[in-house]
Amino acid sequence: MATACTTELSTRRRSTSALVVALAGNPNVGKSTLFNRLTGSAVETANYPGMTVGLNIASATWRGQEVQLVDLPGTYGLDPVSEDQWVARHGLLDWRPDVVVAVVDATNLARNLYLVLQLVDLGPRVVIALNLIDEARRQSLRIDPHALSQALGLPVIPTVARRGEGIDELIEAAAAVATGGDGLGRGRAVRYSARIETQVAELEAELADDDETLPDGLPPRAAALALLEGDEELVTALGPTARAAVTAERAALAVSIAAARHAAATAVAEACTEGRAHMSGADRWWRATTSPLTGLPILLGVLAAVFAFLFFVGGWLSSLLTSLWTATASPLLASAVHGLFGYGAFAGTLLWGLDGGILAALAVGIPYILTFYFVLALLEDSGYMNAAAFLADRVMHSFGLHGRAVIPLMAAAGCNVPAIMGTRVLATRRERTIACALVVLVPCSARTAVILGSVSLFVGWQWALLVFGVLGLVGLVAGLALNRVLPGEPEGLVMEMFPFRRPSLRLVAVKTWKRFGTFLWAAAPIMLIGSFALGALYETGLIWHLEYPLNPVVVGWLGLPAVAGLTLLLAVLRKELALQMLVVFAAARFGAGAHDLRSFMTPHQIVVYALVAAIFIPCVATIAMLGRELGWRRAGAISAGTVVTALVVGGAAAHLLPLL
C-alpha cells in the first residue's frame, strides 16, 4: 500500500548506520523508474519547509546491509538557483550519501554529463547509470561505456531501467564504490582555464587561512567553486571574510565556469559516442504536436478526448457502480442495520454514512479519479504533457499559470478531486493556489448534471448555455483577479520538451495506483465522516431548524424557496444531491408532483438555483483534497471565496433576471 507520509526535513538528516545511496539526474531520464525498481512501495516523501519539491526516501536491504535510498529531484544542475536544484543540492549536503548514482540519458549525453561534472566538483563518490541505451541504439547512437568510464574516471553501467536491465550490475558497482577505498568514484574533475584555476586556488587558500568551518563537509575546492559560481547561501553561511573574498571580478566567472563545464561535457560525450542521431519517424510525427498548425488541433482533440472520456466513460461507470451498489450492497446494509438498530434516527444516520458515504466514495473514486490518474500518467510518461503546456502557455499565463495547468483544468470538468491533485504538475505554491481555485470553479460532471437536470430540462437549453457562460466568465475573472491579488510574480517558463517515449503500462499503473492511494487515505474518510454528519442532521430532523437562519440569504437575497437552501447544504456531500434532495424535500413540503421543479419555482429561480449550486462551496472530497494539497487555511479561503462568489453571482442574477 502506498503510504505516502510527509515529514519536514529540517529534522531529517542521516543519522543511521545504513548505507546512504542518492539518485541524481536530469528530469525524465528514468531516475524515478530506477528508484521504484530498487525500492519497495513504502516511500516517504520529505519536504524542506516551504518547498513544494520533496525528496523521496526509501529503505531497502542489500546482502543484509540496510540501505537508505534518497531520490533527489530531477535537475539539470546543482546550483541552488531554482527550487528543485536547491533541494537536490541540500539533499546531497545534508544526507552525505556514501555514493551517488548519477542517472544519465544516453540519447543526450552532453547535457547530462554537465550534472555529473558538477557532482564530481562537489565531492561525493559517483557511479554512472548510463540509462536509455535502448533508445540510443534505436537512434543509431553507439556509446562506449569503457571510454566514458575512462574519460570521467567513474564506473559506468549501461542500464535500461524500464526493463530492469543492468540493475544488478549497477547495485554491485555502487556498493563497491560506497564501501571501497578512498580513490574510488571520485572522478576526474574538470581543469578550468588558468584564469579560473588561479582564482579557485586563491580562494581555497583564503578559506583555509580564515579557519572557516565549511558547512556540511564541503571540500575546500568545492566551496571555492561554489563561491565563484555565486552561491549566496554559502557566502552568508561563511561569514564576513568570505563575503569580502567574493569580489566582482570573481563573481563574473560564474558563466565561464558553466561554459567550461559544458565544453568538457560535450568533448567527453563526443569522444565516447559513435554515429549520428537520426530523426526517427516517431520523432517527426512527435514534432507535429508542437507545431501550432498541427499542434493546436491535436491539443484540442486530446483535451476533448480527456473530457469526453471522463464525462461519458466516467459517468457511465459511475451510474453502473451506483446501480450495482444499490441493487446488492444497499439492501444488505439496510437489512443488517435495521436488524441491529431498528428504524430510529441512529440507524438512519448509520445508513447515510455506510450506504451513502461508501457509495459516494465509490461512485467518484473509481470512475473519475482512477481513470483520470491513468490518463494523466499516460500523458506525462509519453511526454505529451509538455507539448500541451507549450501550446497552452500563453492563455494560462494570463492567469499567472504555467501551460501545464491546462490538463488539470480540463480534467476538473470530470471531477475536481483528481484535478486538484493534478495541479502538482505546477512548480510554485502560488501557481498551485490559483490553479486549485480555478479547478473548484469548473463545473464537474455532477454539477453539470444538476444544471442540465434543472435548467435545461425545465427552462430551456438556451438558459443552460447562459449558465455555463456565466460560470466561464466567473472563472475568467477569478483567474485574472487572483493573478493580480496574490503576492509574487508568475514564473518565467523554462521547460524541457521531452522526446516521445512509449509509456510502459506497468509504470503508468504503478503511478496511477500511488496517486489513487492519496485519494483513498485523504479524501475518502472525509466523505464518510461528512456523510455521517449530514445523515445525523437529516435523520434527527435538525436540518429543518436550519431553514430559518438561512432564510435571509436564501429567500431574502437569492429569492429561492426555503427548502432550496437546505438542499444546497446537503450538496456539500455530493453535488448531484442538490437536485435529488430538492425533489425529495419539495415533495415533503409541497406534496407529490414536486418532481417538476416548475410546480414550486419560477424559471428565474431555477436558473439562480443552478448557478448557486454550481459555484458555491466544493464538495467534501474536494475540500479534503484542497486541505491536503494546499493546507487548511488556503482550502478554507478558497471554499469561503466560492460561497461569496456564489452569493454575489446568484444574488445579481436573482435581481437582474426579472428586469430583462
Binding site: A194, G230, V255, H262, A263, G295
Partner: protein
C-alpha cells in the same frame, strides 16, 4: 589528440569566418579558403566533429559547436591582439600585420596572451577596427537582438544573456544556454506564446520574458 594544433586552429578560424557569411561553411568552401583539397578537408572536419568542435546542421553545412566557437574566438583574440602588438609596439603598418599575426597567434600561451593584453591596455579593437573577443570568447560589438524576436525556423548564436536576473542566467547556463551556443527556433506557440528552441540535442520551451533576456547575434 592526434590532430596537429596549428592546422586545427586554421580550420576553426576558417569555419568561423565562413559561418559569418550567409552561405555558411561547406567542405568545398573551407577547402577553397585554406587552399587545400576537399578530401583532406572532409577528413579533418570529421576529426573536429569527433572532438566536439564542429557539427553539421540540417542542411549539412559545417557549424561550430559552442566549444568550437569558443576556441575559434579565442584564436581570433590572439590574432587581433598580435596585430595590435605589431602595430603599437613594433610600428609595422597595419596593412601588413595580418600575415605576421597568423604566425604569432599559434605560439602564444594563455599567460603570454594575458600579459600581452594587459601591456597593450586591454584594447577593444584590432588595428582594422574589428572587435577583439573577450577572454571568455565574447564579441563585444556584435549587434544583438532578443531571441524572442526570432521566427520559427531561424537559428542564431547566443551573444549574451542579460544579467538582470543572475539566478536565471545561472539556471540557463546549467541547461547549456550559454554565449556562443547555437540555438534554433523550431516552433513559436500562438498568441505570443513561448518559443521552442533546440540547443544541441535538447529542446526547451522558453517563455517570452525569458527569451527576451537572451540576446542572439542579429
Amino acid at each position: 589528440m592526434a590532430v596537429k594544433s596549428e592546422s586545427r586552429e586554421e580550420y576553426l578560424e576558417a569555419i568561423f569566418k565562413l559561418t559569418q557569411q550567409p552561405a555558411g561553411a561547406t567542405v568545398g568552401r573551407v577547402a577553397e579558403e585554406l587552399g587545400l583539397a576537399a578530401p583532406s578537408v572532409s577528413q579533418m572536419v570529421g576529426r573536429l566533429a569527433h572532438e566536439g568542435l564542429v557539427e553539421r546542421d540540417d542542411a549539412s553545412r559545417i557549424v561550430l559547436t559552442a566549444a568550437g566557437r569558443r576556441e575559434a574566438l579565442h584564436l581570433i583574440r590572439r590574432h587581433r591582439l598580435s596585430e595590435r602588438f605589431l602595430t603599437d609596439y613594433l610600428d609595422l603598418p597595419w596593412d601588413r600585420v595580418h600575415d605576421e599575426a597568423c604566425k604569432f597567434e599559434h605560439v602564444l600561451s594563455d599567460e603570454v596572451e594575458e600579459r600581452l593584453a594587459t601591456q597593450l591596455g586591454n584594447p577593444q579593437t584590432c588595428p582594422h577596427g574589428r572587435a577583439i573577443p573577450t577572454p571568455d570568447g565574447e564579441l563585444a560589438d556584435e549587434p544583438a537582438r532578443p531571441l524572442a524576436e526570432l521566427c520559427a525556423g531561424q537559428r542564431s548564436t547566443i551573444s549574451f544573456v542579460s544579467d538582470e536576473r543572475p539566478d536565471l542566467l545561472r539556471y540557463l547556463s546549467s541547461l547549456g544556454l550559454l554565449p556562443q551556443t547555437t540555438v534554433a527556433v523550431e516552433d513559436v506557440a500562438p498568441f505570443g506564446g513561448p518559443l521552442l528552441v533546440r540547443v544541441g540535442r535538447a529542446r526547451y520551451a522558453l517563455g517570452r520574458e525569458v527569451a527576451g533576456k537572451i540576446f542572439v547575434r542579429a
